[in-house]
Protein backbone atom coordinates (compact mmCIF):
# COMPACT_ATOMS: atom_id res chain seq x y z
CA UNK A 1 0.00 0.00 0.00
CA UNK A 2 1.37 3.36 -0.98
CA UNK A 3 1.13 5.95 1.77
CA UNK A 4 3.06 8.70 0.08
CA UNK A 5 1.27 12.01 -0.01
CA UNK A 6 1.14 14.36 -2.99
CA UNK A 7 3.62 17.29 -2.79
CA UNK A 8 0.89 19.96 -2.51
CA UNK A 9 -0.88 18.17 0.31
CA UNK A 10 2.32 17.43 2.25
CA UNK A 11 2.90 21.19 2.47
CA UNK A 12 -0.64 21.59 3.84
CA UNK A 13 0.15 18.87 6.38
CA UNK A 14 3.38 20.61 7.40
CA UNK A 15 1.69 24.04 7.50
CA UNK A 16 -1.25 22.87 9.59
CA UNK A 17 0.93 20.94 12.03
CA UNK A 18 3.67 23.57 12.34
CA UNK A 19 1.32 26.52 12.83
CA UNK A 20 -0.45 24.80 15.70
CA UNK A 21 2.79 23.69 17.36
CA UNK A 22 4.28 27.17 16.93
CA UNK A 23 1.26 28.69 18.67
CA UNK A 24 1.51 26.19 21.51
CA UNK A 25 5.16 27.13 22.10
CA UNK A 26 4.24 30.83 21.85
CA UNK A 27 1.54 30.32 24.48
CA UNK A 28 3.94 28.46 26.77
CA UNK A 29 6.71 31.09 26.48
CA UNK A 30 4.69 34.26 26.98
CA UNK A 31 3.93 33.15 30.51
CA UNK A 32 7.66 32.72 31.25
CA UNK A 33 8.57 36.02 29.59
CA UNK A 34 5.90 37.92 31.51
CA UNK A 35 6.30 36.09 34.82
CA UNK A 36 7.43 39.22 36.69
CA UNK A 37 4.46 41.33 35.53
CA UNK A 38 2.01 38.48 36.13
CA UNK A 39 3.48 38.13 39.62
CA UNK A 40 2.93 41.82 40.33
CA UNK A 41 -0.65 41.85 38.96
CA UNK A 42 -2.08 38.49 39.93
CA UNK A 43 -0.04 37.32 42.91
CA UNK A 44 -0.17 38.53 46.53
CA UNK A 45 2.32 41.19 47.56
CA UNK A 46 3.56 38.82 50.28
CA UNK A 47 6.85 37.62 48.81
CA UNK A 48 6.71 34.24 50.52
CA UNK A 49 3.26 33.20 49.30
CA UNK A 50 4.04 34.55 45.86
CA UNK A 51 7.26 32.51 45.66
CA UNK A 52 5.38 29.32 46.60
CA UNK A 53 2.81 29.75 43.84
CA UNK A 54 5.54 30.67 41.38
CA UNK A 55 7.49 27.55 42.26
CA UNK A 56 4.43 25.38 41.64
CA UNK A 57 3.62 27.18 38.38
CA UNK A 58 7.14 26.87 37.00
CA UNK A 59 8.39 23.58 38.43
CA UNK A 60 5.20 21.56 38.39
CA UNK A 61 4.13 22.72 34.90
CA UNK A 62 7.53 22.06 33.36
CA UNK A 63 8.77 19.00 35.16
CA UNK A 64 5.77 16.93 36.20
CA UNK A 65 2.80 17.93 34.10
CA UNK A 66 4.65 18.03 30.76
CA UNK A 67 5.86 14.39 30.87
CA UNK A 68 2.45 13.44 32.30
CA UNK A 69 0.80 15.19 29.32
CA UNK A 70 3.09 13.18 27.04
CA UNK A 71 1.74 9.96 28.56
CA UNK A 72 -1.93 11.01 28.62
CA UNK A 73 -2.10 12.43 25.10
CA UNK A 74 0.41 9.97 23.68
CA UNK A 75 -1.88 7.13 24.77
CA UNK A 76 -4.91 8.95 23.38
CA UNK A 77 -3.11 9.58 20.07
CA UNK A 78 -2.31 5.89 19.69
CA UNK A 79 -5.88 4.92 20.58
CA UNK A 80 -8.11 7.43 18.76
CA UNK A 81 -5.71 8.97 16.26
CA UNK A 82 -3.20 11.78 15.82
CA UNK A 83 -5.54 14.39 14.33
CA UNK A 84 -8.11 14.64 17.09
CA UNK A 85 -5.54 14.36 19.85
CA UNK A 86 -3.40 17.25 18.71
CA UNK A 87 -6.57 19.25 18.03
CA UNK A 88 -7.51 18.72 21.66
CA UNK A 89 -4.08 19.82 22.91
CA UNK A 90 -4.37 22.97 20.79
CA UNK A 91 -7.82 23.82 22.20
CA UNK A 92 -6.58 23.25 25.77
CA UNK A 93 -3.46 25.35 25.25
CA UNK A 94 -5.23 28.20 23.42
CA UNK A 95 -8.14 28.25 25.86
CA UNK A 96 -5.95 28.32 28.96
CA UNK A 97 -3.69 31.03 27.52
CA UNK A 98 -6.68 33.20 26.59
CA UNK A 99 -8.17 32.73 30.06
CA UNK A 100 -4.91 33.76 31.76
CA UNK A 101 -5.30 37.07 29.92
CA UNK A 102 -8.78 37.50 31.42
CA UNK A 103 -8.01 36.77 35.08
CA UNK A 104 -8.88 39.77 37.28
CA UNK A 105 -6.04 41.14 39.38
CA UNK A 106 -5.21 39.98 42.92
CA UNK A 107 -6.57 43.27 44.24
CA UNK A 108 -10.01 42.40 42.75
CA UNK A 109 -10.48 38.72 43.54
CA UNK A 110 -7.74 37.93 46.05
CA UNK A 111 -6.29 34.41 46.17
CA UNK A 112 -8.58 33.21 43.37
CA UNK A 113 -6.27 35.04 40.94
CA UNK A 114 -3.05 33.08 41.66
CA UNK A 115 -4.99 29.81 42.03
CA UNK A 116 -6.56 30.31 38.59
CA UNK A 117 -3.12 31.15 37.12
CA UNK A 118 -1.70 27.97 38.62
CA UNK A 119 -4.53 25.76 37.29
CA UNK A 120 -4.32 27.27 33.80
CA UNK A 121 -0.52 27.01 33.78
CA UNK A 122 -0.78 23.31 34.63
CA UNK A 123 -3.25 22.85 31.76
CA UNK A 124 -0.70 24.57 29.49
CA UNK A 125 2.02 22.13 30.58
CA UNK A 126 -0.30 19.18 30.03
CA UNK A 127 -1.25 20.37 26.53
CA UNK A 128 2.36 21.04 25.54
CA UNK A 129 3.28 17.52 26.63
CA UNK A 130 0.76 16.12 24.17
CA UNK A 131 1.24 18.44 21.22
CA UNK A 132 4.76 17.82 19.94
CA UNK A 133 4.62 14.04 19.62
CA UNK A 134 1.35 14.31 17.71
CA UNK A 135 2.57 16.93 15.27
CA UNK A 136 5.90 15.18 14.61
CA UNK A 137 4.22 11.79 14.18
CA UNK A 138 1.50 13.25 11.93
CA UNK A 139 4.01 14.90 9.58
CA UNK A 140 6.40 11.93 9.56
CA UNK A 141 3.57 9.54 8.72
CA UNK A 142 2.73 11.69 5.69
CA UNK A 143 6.31 12.29 4.55
CA UNK A 144 7.64 10.52 1.45
CA UNK A 145 10.50 8.05 1.81
CA UNK A 146 13.91 9.71 2.11
CA UNK A 147 12.47 13.12 3.05
CA UNK A 148 11.28 12.49 6.57
CA UNK A 149 14.08 14.54 8.13
CA UNK A 150 13.38 17.47 5.81
CA UNK A 151 9.62 17.50 6.38
CA UNK A 152 9.69 17.00 10.15
CA UNK A 153 12.38 19.68 10.50
CA UNK A 154 9.67 22.29 9.83
CA UNK A 155 8.01 21.13 13.05
CA UNK A 156 11.41 21.56 14.72
CA UNK A 157 11.58 25.26 13.80
CA UNK A 158 8.37 25.94 15.73
CA UNK A 159 9.79 25.90 19.26
CA UNK A 160 12.37 28.52 18.34
CA UNK A 161 9.92 30.53 16.25
CA UNK A 162 7.41 30.39 19.11
CA UNK A 163 10.06 31.96 21.35
CA UNK A 164 10.80 34.53 18.63
CA UNK A 165 7.10 35.36 18.22
CA UNK A 166 6.55 35.69 21.97
CA UNK A 167 9.55 38.01 22.40
CA UNK A 168 8.55 39.99 19.30
CA UNK A 169 4.91 40.51 20.33
CA UNK A 170 5.90 41.47 23.87
CA UNK A 171 8.52 43.99 22.70
CA UNK A 172 6.13 45.37 20.04
CA UNK A 173 3.16 45.73 22.43
CA UNK A 174 5.41 47.39 25.00
CA UNK A 175 6.83 49.84 22.45
CA UNK A 176 3.38 50.75 21.07
CA UNK A 177 1.47 51.33 24.32
CA UNK A 178 4.38 52.29 26.58
CA UNK A 179 6.03 50.48 29.47
CA UNK A 180 3.62 51.79 32.14
CA UNK A 181 0.40 50.82 30.31
CA UNK A 182 1.97 47.48 29.41
CA UNK A 183 2.69 46.69 33.05
CA UNK A 184 -0.82 47.82 34.02
CA UNK A 185 -3.05 46.11 31.41
CA UNK A 186 -1.05 45.69 28.16
CA UNK A 187 0.56 42.41 29.32
CA UNK A 188 -2.84 40.81 28.64
CA UNK A 189 -2.54 41.54 24.88
CA UNK A 190 -0.15 38.64 24.03
CA UNK A 191 -2.42 36.24 25.97
CA UNK A 192 -5.66 37.44 24.37
CA UNK A 193 -4.08 37.52 20.91
CA UNK A 194 -3.48 33.80 21.25
CA UNK A 195 -7.17 32.99 20.73
CA UNK A 196 -7.07 34.43 17.19
CA UNK A 197 -3.97 32.40 16.31
CA UNK A 198 -5.44 29.26 17.84
CA UNK A 199 -8.78 29.82 16.06
CA UNK A 200 -7.05 29.95 12.67
CA UNK A 201 -4.97 26.90 13.49
CA UNK A 202 -7.98 24.86 14.68
CA UNK A 203 -9.85 25.75 11.47
CA UNK A 204 -6.91 24.55 9.35
CA UNK A 205 -6.35 21.40 11.40
CA UNK A 206 -10.04 20.46 11.28
CA UNK A 207 -9.79 20.29 7.50
CA UNK A 208 -6.90 17.82 7.60
CA UNK A 209 -7.30 14.06 7.30
CA UNK A 210 -6.03 11.46 9.76
CA UNK A 211 -2.50 10.12 9.23
CA UNK A 212 -2.57 7.44 6.47
CA UNK A 213 -0.54 4.98 8.54
CA UNK A 214 -2.84 5.28 11.55
CA UNK A 215 -5.90 4.97 9.27
CA UNK A 216 -4.46 1.77 7.77
CA UNK A 217 -3.77 0.38 11.23
CA UNK A 218 -7.31 1.21 12.33
CA UNK A 219 -8.87 -0.32 9.23
CA UNK A 220 -6.90 -3.52 9.79
CA UNK A 221 -7.87 -3.57 13.48
CA UNK A 222 -4.24 -3.45 14.59
CA UNK A 223 -4.45 -0.49 16.95
CA UNK A 224 -2.75 -1.04 20.27
CA UNK A 225 -5.18 -1.88 23.07
CA UNK A 226 -2.89 -0.54 25.77
CA UNK A 227 -0.19 1.77 24.37
CA UNK A 228 1.29 2.57 27.79
CA UNK A 229 1.77 -1.10 28.63
CA UNK A 230 3.19 -1.91 25.20
CA UNK A 231 5.54 1.07 25.28
CA UNK A 232 7.00 0.66 28.71
CA UNK A 233 6.58 -2.92 29.81
CA UNK A 234 7.73 -4.61 26.61
CA UNK A 235 11.52 -4.88 26.87
CA UNK A 236 12.18 -4.53 23.13
CA UNK A 237 10.41 -1.15 23.08
CA UNK A 238 11.35 0.10 26.55
CA UNK A 239 15.06 -0.33 25.88
CA UNK A 240 14.66 1.95 22.85
CA UNK A 241 12.76 4.53 24.96
CA UNK A 242 15.71 4.56 27.40
CA UNK A 243 18.23 4.78 24.57
CA UNK A 244 16.32 7.67 22.97
CA UNK A 245 16.30 9.50 26.31
CA UNK A 246 19.89 8.98 27.43
CA UNK A 247 21.56 8.89 24.02
CA UNK A 248 19.74 11.77 22.33
CA UNK A 249 16.96 13.82 23.94
CA UNK A 250 18.80 14.39 27.23
CA UNK A 251 21.75 16.03 25.44
CA UNK A 252 19.46 17.80 23.00
CA UNK A 253 17.46 19.29 25.91
CA UNK A 254 20.46 20.92 27.61
CA UNK A 255 21.91 22.23 24.32
CA UNK A 256 18.49 23.68 23.48
CA UNK A 257 17.99 25.46 26.80
CA UNK A 258 21.57 26.68 27.08
CA UNK A 259 21.56 28.22 23.60
CA UNK A 260 18.23 29.96 23.87
CA UNK A 261 17.46 30.61 27.53
CA UNK A 262 20.66 30.39 29.55
CA UNK A 263 22.44 32.60 26.98
CA UNK A 264 19.85 35.34 27.29
CA UNK A 265 19.69 35.09 31.08
CA UNK A 266 23.52 35.18 31.31
CA UNK A 267 23.76 38.22 29.01
CA UNK A 268 21.07 40.07 30.95
CA UNK A 269 21.76 39.06 34.54
CA UNK A 270 25.45 38.19 34.69
CA UNK A 271 26.86 40.53 32.02
CA UNK A 272 24.23 43.18 32.98
CA UNK A 273 23.41 44.09 29.39
CA UNK A 274 20.40 46.40 28.93
CA UNK A 275 16.96 44.65 28.96
CA UNK A 276 16.06 45.46 25.34
CA UNK A 277 19.58 44.86 23.97
CA UNK A 278 19.74 41.39 25.51
CA UNK A 279 16.47 40.51 23.75
CA UNK A 280 17.56 42.03 20.44
CA UNK A 281 20.74 39.91 20.56
CA UNK A 282 18.64 36.77 20.97
CA UNK A 283 16.13 37.81 18.30
CA UNK A 284 18.92 38.36 15.73
CA UNK A 285 20.60 35.09 16.69
CA UNK A 286 17.31 33.20 16.25
CA UNK A 287 16.53 34.95 12.95
CA UNK A 288 19.90 33.97 11.41
CA UNK A 289 19.98 30.42 12.77
CA UNK A 290 16.39 29.20 12.30
CA UNK A 291 16.76 28.18 8.61
CA UNK A 292 19.42 25.67 9.71
CA UNK A 293 16.78 23.48 11.37
CA UNK A 294 15.60 22.64 7.87
CA UNK A 295 19.18 22.40 6.50
CA UNK A 296 20.23 19.84 9.11
CA UNK A 297 16.89 18.02 8.95
CA UNK A 298 17.26 17.59 5.19
CA UNK A 299 20.94 16.68 5.46
CA UNK A 300 20.08 13.96 7.98
CA UNK A 301 18.03 12.26 5.24
CA UNK A 302 21.30 11.80 3.35
CA UNK A 303 23.93 11.10 6.01
CA UNK A 304 21.81 9.79 8.91
CA UNK A 305 20.56 11.49 12.07
CA UNK A 306 23.07 10.27 14.64
CA UNK A 307 26.27 12.13 13.86
CA UNK A 308 24.64 15.47 13.12
CA UNK A 309 22.98 15.44 16.54
CA UNK A 310 26.11 14.21 18.32
CA UNK A 311 28.34 16.79 16.58
CA UNK A 312 26.02 19.52 17.89
CA UNK A 313 26.49 18.15 21.42
CA UNK A 314 30.27 17.82 21.03
CA UNK A 315 30.66 21.40 19.79
CA UNK A 316 28.65 22.60 22.80
CA UNK A 317 30.89 20.63 25.16
CA UNK A 318 34.02 22.18 23.58
CA UNK A 319 32.90 25.77 23.02
CA UNK A 320 30.46 26.72 25.81
CA UNK A 321 33.11 27.89 28.27
CA UNK A 322 35.12 29.97 25.73
CA UNK A 323 31.88 31.55 24.44
CA UNK A 324 30.65 32.56 27.89
CA UNK A 325 34.12 33.75 28.90
CA UNK A 326 34.00 36.01 25.84
CA UNK A 327 30.57 37.34 26.93
CA UNK A 328 32.14 38.27 30.27
CA UNK A 329 35.31 39.81 28.81
CA UNK A 330 33.54 41.86 26.14
CA UNK A 331 31.01 43.29 28.59
CA UNK A 332 33.51 44.11 31.34
CA UNK A 333 33.57 47.91 31.75
CA UNK A 334 35.37 47.97 35.12
CA UNK A 335 38.70 48.78 33.46
CA UNK A 336 37.39 51.56 31.20
CA UNK A 337 40.02 54.28 30.87
CA UNK A 338 39.09 57.90 31.55
CA UNK A 339 40.20 58.88 28.02
CA UNK A 340 37.46 56.58 26.58
CA UNK A 341 34.66 58.39 28.40
CA UNK A 342 32.62 60.86 26.33
CA UNK A 343 30.32 62.13 29.08
CA UNK A 344 29.21 61.44 32.63
CA UNK A 345 25.64 62.33 33.55
CA UNK A 346 24.60 63.87 36.85
CA UNK A 347 24.25 61.09 39.46
CA UNK A 348 20.70 60.10 40.38
CA UNK A 349 20.41 59.52 44.12
CA UNK A 350 17.55 57.60 45.73
CA UNK A 351 17.01 56.91 49.41
CA UNK A 352 15.00 53.92 50.63
CA UNK A 353 14.21 53.61 54.37
CA UNK A 354 15.21 50.18 55.67
CA UNK A 355 13.04 49.83 58.78
CA UNK A 356 11.68 51.84 61.66
CA UNK A 357 15.13 52.29 63.24
CA UNK A 358 15.77 55.08 60.75
CA UNK A 359 18.49 53.30 58.73
CA UNK A 360 18.34 53.76 54.97
CA UNK A 361 19.83 52.57 51.69
CA UNK A 362 21.20 55.27 49.42
CA UNK A 363 21.62 54.31 45.77
CA UNK A 364 23.77 56.51 43.55
CA UNK A 365 23.41 55.78 39.85
CA UNK A 366 25.60 57.51 37.28
CA UNK A 367 25.16 57.03 33.55
CA UNK A 368 28.46 57.00 31.66
CA UNK A 369 28.66 57.28 27.87
CA UNK A 370 31.78 56.21 26.01
CA UNK A 371 33.32 57.58 22.81
CA UNK A 372 32.71 54.20 21.14
CA UNK A 373 28.93 54.66 21.46
CA UNK A 374 28.64 52.23 24.38
CA UNK A 375 27.17 53.29 27.72
CA UNK A 376 26.50 51.90 31.17
CA UNK A 377 25.29 52.89 34.63
CA UNK A 378 27.62 52.80 37.61
CA UNK A 379 25.64 52.04 40.76
CA UNK A 380 26.79 52.43 44.34
CA UNK A 381 24.63 51.35 47.28
CA UNK A 382 25.46 52.72 50.72
CA UNK A 383 23.81 51.83 54.01
CA UNK A 384 23.42 54.87 56.24
CA UNK A 385 22.67 54.13 59.89
CA UNK A 386 20.57 56.38 62.12
CA UNK A 387 23.07 55.64 64.87
CA UNK A 388 25.85 58.11 63.95
CA UNK A 389 28.46 56.03 65.80
CA UNK A 390 28.15 53.32 63.11
CA UNK A 391 30.18 53.82 59.94
CA UNK A 392 28.49 53.99 56.56
CA UNK A 393 28.45 50.61 54.80
CA UNK A 394 29.69 50.86 51.22
CA UNK A 395 28.76 48.22 48.64
CA UNK A 396 30.89 47.15 45.71
CA UNK A 397 30.40 49.19 42.53
CA UNK A 398 27.93 47.56 40.13
CA UNK A 399 27.88 48.23 36.41
CA UNK A 400 24.53 47.64 34.75
CA UNK A 401 22.15 48.62 31.91
CA UNK A 402 25.11 48.26 29.55
CA UNK A 403 24.55 49.27 25.94
CA UNK A 404 27.20 47.62 23.80
CA UNK A 405 29.09 49.36 21.01
CA UNK A 406 27.92 48.19 17.58
CA UNK A 407 30.83 45.84 16.84
CA UNK A 408 30.56 44.14 20.25
CA UNK A 409 26.76 43.87 19.83
CA UNK A 410 27.28 41.90 16.61
CA UNK A 411 29.95 39.72 18.23
CA UNK A 412 27.34 38.84 20.86
CA UNK A 413 24.80 38.12 18.10
CA UNK A 414 27.42 35.88 16.43
CA UNK A 415 28.07 33.97 19.65
CA UNK A 416 24.34 33.46 20.27
CA UNK A 417 23.88 32.51 16.60
CA UNK A 418 26.57 29.82 16.98
CA UNK A 419 24.83 28.40 20.06
CA UNK A 420 21.48 28.30 18.25
CA UNK A 421 23.23 26.70 15.29
CA UNK A 422 24.17 23.88 17.68
CA UNK A 423 20.50 23.76 18.71
CA UNK A 424 19.54 23.30 15.05
CA UNK A 425 22.04 20.43 14.76
CA UNK A 426 20.71 18.51 17.74
CA UNK A 427 17.06 19.44 17.26
CA UNK A 428 16.59 19.56 13.47
CA UNK A 429 16.85 15.78 12.87
CA UNK A 430 15.48 14.56 16.22
CA UNK A 431 11.79 14.29 15.27
CA UNK A 432 12.60 11.97 12.36
CA UNK A 433 15.04 10.07 14.60
CA UNK A 434 12.38 9.49 17.29
CA UNK A 435 9.62 8.61 14.84
CA UNK A 436 11.83 5.96 13.20
CA UNK A 437 12.63 4.27 16.51
CA UNK A 438 9.08 3.15 17.30
CA UNK A 439 6.26 1.23 15.57
CA UNK A 440 3.15 3.10 14.37
CA UNK A 441 0.74 1.62 16.90
CA UNK A 442 2.64 2.99 19.93
CA UNK A 443 4.68 5.73 18.25
CA UNK A 444 2.90 8.76 19.77
CA UNK A 445 3.25 7.39 23.33
CA UNK A 446 6.78 6.03 22.95
CA UNK A 447 8.38 9.11 21.40
CA UNK A 448 6.56 11.72 23.52
CA UNK A 449 7.90 10.59 26.89
CA UNK A 450 11.66 10.62 26.14
CA UNK A 451 11.24 13.90 24.26
CA UNK A 452 9.53 15.69 27.15
CA UNK A 453 11.77 14.19 29.84
CA UNK A 454 14.86 15.14 27.81
CA UNK A 455 13.67 18.57 26.76
CA UNK A 456 11.41 19.55 29.68
CA UNK A 457 13.24 18.00 32.62
CA UNK A 458 16.94 17.91 31.67
CA UNK A 459 16.66 21.10 29.59
CA UNK A 460 14.26 22.85 31.94
CA UNK A 461 16.60 22.20 34.88
CA UNK A 462 19.45 24.21 33.27
CA UNK A 463 18.73 27.48 35.16
CA UNK A 464 18.00 25.69 38.46
CA UNK A 465 21.09 23.47 38.45
CA UNK A 466 23.28 26.30 37.12
CA UNK A 467 22.19 28.40 40.13
CA UNK A 468 22.79 25.42 42.42
CA UNK A 469 26.34 24.96 41.13
CA UNK A 470 26.95 28.70 41.46
CA UNK A 471 26.14 28.35 45.18
CA UNK A 472 29.07 25.94 45.74
CA UNK A 473 32.20 27.32 47.40
CA UNK A 474 34.80 28.54 44.90
CA UNK A 475 32.37 28.77 42.00
CA UNK A 476 32.78 31.34 39.23
CA UNK A 477 30.19 32.89 36.85
CA UNK A 478 31.03 30.08 34.41
CA UNK A 479 30.60 27.22 36.88
CA UNK A 480 26.90 26.81 36.04
CA UNK A 481 27.92 25.64 32.57
CA UNK A 482 29.23 22.36 33.98
CA UNK A 483 25.67 21.07 34.11
CA UNK A 484 24.86 21.36 30.36
CA UNK A 485 28.44 20.35 29.50
CA UNK A 486 28.28 17.28 31.76
CA UNK A 487 24.84 16.14 30.57
CA UNK A 488 25.74 16.75 26.90
CA UNK A 489 28.98 14.78 27.40
CA UNK A 490 27.10 11.87 29.00
CA UNK A 491 24.54 11.87 26.21
CA UNK A 492 27.29 12.13 23.58
CA UNK A 493 29.09 9.05 24.95
CA UNK A 494 25.87 7.02 25.19
CA UNK A 495 24.77 8.13 21.72
CA UNK A 496 28.16 7.50 20.12
CA UNK A 497 28.48 4.01 21.61
CA UNK A 498 24.93 2.68 21.47
CA UNK A 499 22.98 4.52 18.76
CA UNK A 500 22.78 3.33 15.19
CA UNK A 501 23.09 5.73 12.26
CA UNK A 502 20.77 3.62 10.16
CA UNK A 503 17.49 5.21 9.07
CA UNK A 504 14.25 3.23 9.07
CA UNK A 505 13.05 3.93 5.53
CA UNK A 506 9.53 2.55 5.82
CA UNK A 507 8.08 3.19 9.31
CA UNK A 508 4.67 1.91 8.08
CA UNK A 509 4.76 -1.09 10.38
Amino acid sequence: MNHETKPNSIFKVIGASSLGTLIEWYDFYIFGSLATIIGAQLFPADAGASALINTLAIFAAGFIVRPFGALVFGRLGDLIGRKYTFLLTLVLMGGSTFLIGLIPSYSSIGYFAPILVLILRLVQGLALGGEYGGAATYVAEHAPKGKRGFFTSWIQTTATLGLFLSLGIIVLSKNIIGAEAFADWGWRIPFLLSILLVGVSIYIRLKMHESPMFTKLKTEGNISKNPLKESFSKKGNFKMVLLALFGATMGQGVIWYTGQFYAQSFIENTCKIDFNDSRYILLWGIAFATPFFVVFGAWSDKVGRKWIMLTGMLLGIIFYRPIYQMFLDKSDVSKTEVSAIASTAEPVITRVPLHDKGDSLITTSTKISLLSGASYSKVLVDTVYADASKTIGHSKEIYKDKILETSTFWIFVGLVFFQILLVTMVYGPIAAFLVELFPTKIRYTSMSLPYHVGNGVFGGLVPFVATLIASFAGSTPLSGLWYPIGIAALSFIIGAVYLSNKKDETIND
Binding site: G48, A49, A51, L52, T55, L56, F59, A60, F63, I64, P67, K234, K235, G236, N237, F238, K239, M240, L242, L243, L245, F246, E436, L437, F438, P439, T440, R443, V453, V457, L461, F464, L468, S471, I493, I494, V497, Y498, L499, S500, K502, D504, E505, T506, I507, D509
Partner: protein, 83 residues
Amino acid sequence: MKSIKKILGLIWIILGPAAMVFMSWQAWDKISKAEAGVAQTNTALQWGIILLIFIPIAIGLVIFGKYALAGEYEKLPGSSEEI
Protein backbone atom coordinates in the same frame (compact mmCIF):
# COMPACT_ATOMS: atom_id res chain seq x y z
CA MET B 1 32.70 -2.40 20.72
CA LYS B 2 30.59 -5.12 22.34
CA SER B 3 32.78 -5.20 25.45
CA ILE B 4 32.86 -1.38 25.67
CA LYS B 5 29.05 -1.35 25.61
CA LYS B 6 28.98 -3.89 28.43
CA ILE B 7 31.66 -2.20 30.57
CA LEU B 8 29.91 1.14 30.20
CA GLY B 9 26.73 -0.62 31.29
CA LEU B 10 28.34 -1.13 34.71
CA ILE B 11 29.13 2.58 34.90
CA TRP B 12 25.51 3.52 34.17
CA ILE B 13 24.36 1.10 36.88
CA ILE B 14 26.64 2.83 39.40
CA LEU B 15 25.88 6.33 38.12
CA GLY B 16 22.12 6.04 38.75
CA PRO B 17 22.29 5.52 42.56
CA ALA B 18 25.26 7.92 42.81
CA ALA B 19 23.16 10.66 41.19
CA MET B 20 20.25 9.85 43.53
CA VAL B 21 22.48 10.09 46.62
CA PHE B 22 24.04 13.35 45.40
CA MET B 23 20.68 14.97 44.64
CA SER B 24 19.16 13.81 47.96
CA TRP B 25 22.18 15.15 49.85
CA GLN B 26 21.91 18.48 48.01
CA ALA B 27 18.19 18.62 48.77
CA TRP B 28 18.79 18.01 52.48
CA ASP B 29 21.64 20.56 52.53
CA LYS B 30 19.66 23.33 50.79
CA ILE B 31 16.45 22.73 52.75
CA SER B 32 18.26 22.75 56.09
CA LYS B 33 20.14 25.95 55.16
CA ALA B 34 16.99 27.81 54.05
CA GLU B 35 15.44 30.31 56.44
CA ALA B 36 12.70 28.74 58.57
CA GLY B 37 9.16 29.53 57.44
CA VAL B 38 7.91 30.11 53.90
CA ALA B 39 11.42 30.16 52.39
CA GLN B 40 12.12 26.69 53.79
CA THR B 41 8.75 25.35 52.62
CA ASN B 42 9.46 26.79 49.17
CA THR B 43 12.92 25.18 48.98
CA ALA B 44 11.46 21.87 50.20
CA LEU B 45 8.74 22.10 47.55
CA GLN B 46 11.27 22.77 44.74
CA TRP B 47 13.50 19.91 45.81
CA GLY B 48 10.55 17.62 46.42
CA ILE B 49 9.39 18.10 42.82
CA ILE B 50 12.92 17.61 41.49
CA LEU B 51 13.48 14.40 43.46
CA LEU B 52 10.03 13.12 42.49
CA ILE B 53 10.88 13.39 38.80
CA PHE B 54 14.61 12.69 39.05
CA ILE B 55 14.52 9.42 41.01
CA PRO B 56 12.55 7.52 38.31
CA ILE B 57 15.01 8.87 35.70
CA ALA B 58 17.96 7.61 37.77
CA ILE B 59 16.22 4.22 38.08
CA GLY B 60 15.82 4.35 34.28
CA LEU B 61 19.59 4.84 33.96
CA VAL B 62 20.19 1.76 36.11
CA ILE B 63 17.81 -0.28 33.92
CA PHE B 64 19.57 1.10 30.83
CA GLY B 65 22.90 -0.01 32.29
CA LYS B 66 21.45 -3.44 33.10
CA TYR B 67 20.25 -3.84 29.50
CA ALA B 68 23.66 -2.70 28.21
CA LEU B 69 25.44 -5.19 30.51
CA ALA B 70 23.12 -7.96 29.31
CA GLY B 71 24.04 -7.19 25.69
CA GLU B 72 20.58 -5.90 24.72
CA TYR B 73 22.14 -3.09 22.67
CA GLU B 74 24.64 -5.27 20.79
CA LYS B 75 22.35 -5.38 17.80
CA LEU B 76 19.72 -2.69 17.45
CA PRO B 77 16.57 -3.34 15.44
CA GLY B 78 17.02 -2.30 11.80
CA SER B 79 13.50 -0.93 11.71
CA SER B 80 10.69 -0.32 14.17
CA GLU B 81 9.04 -3.41 12.71
CA GLU B 82 11.62 -5.59 14.49
CA ILE B 83 10.72 -4.21 17.94
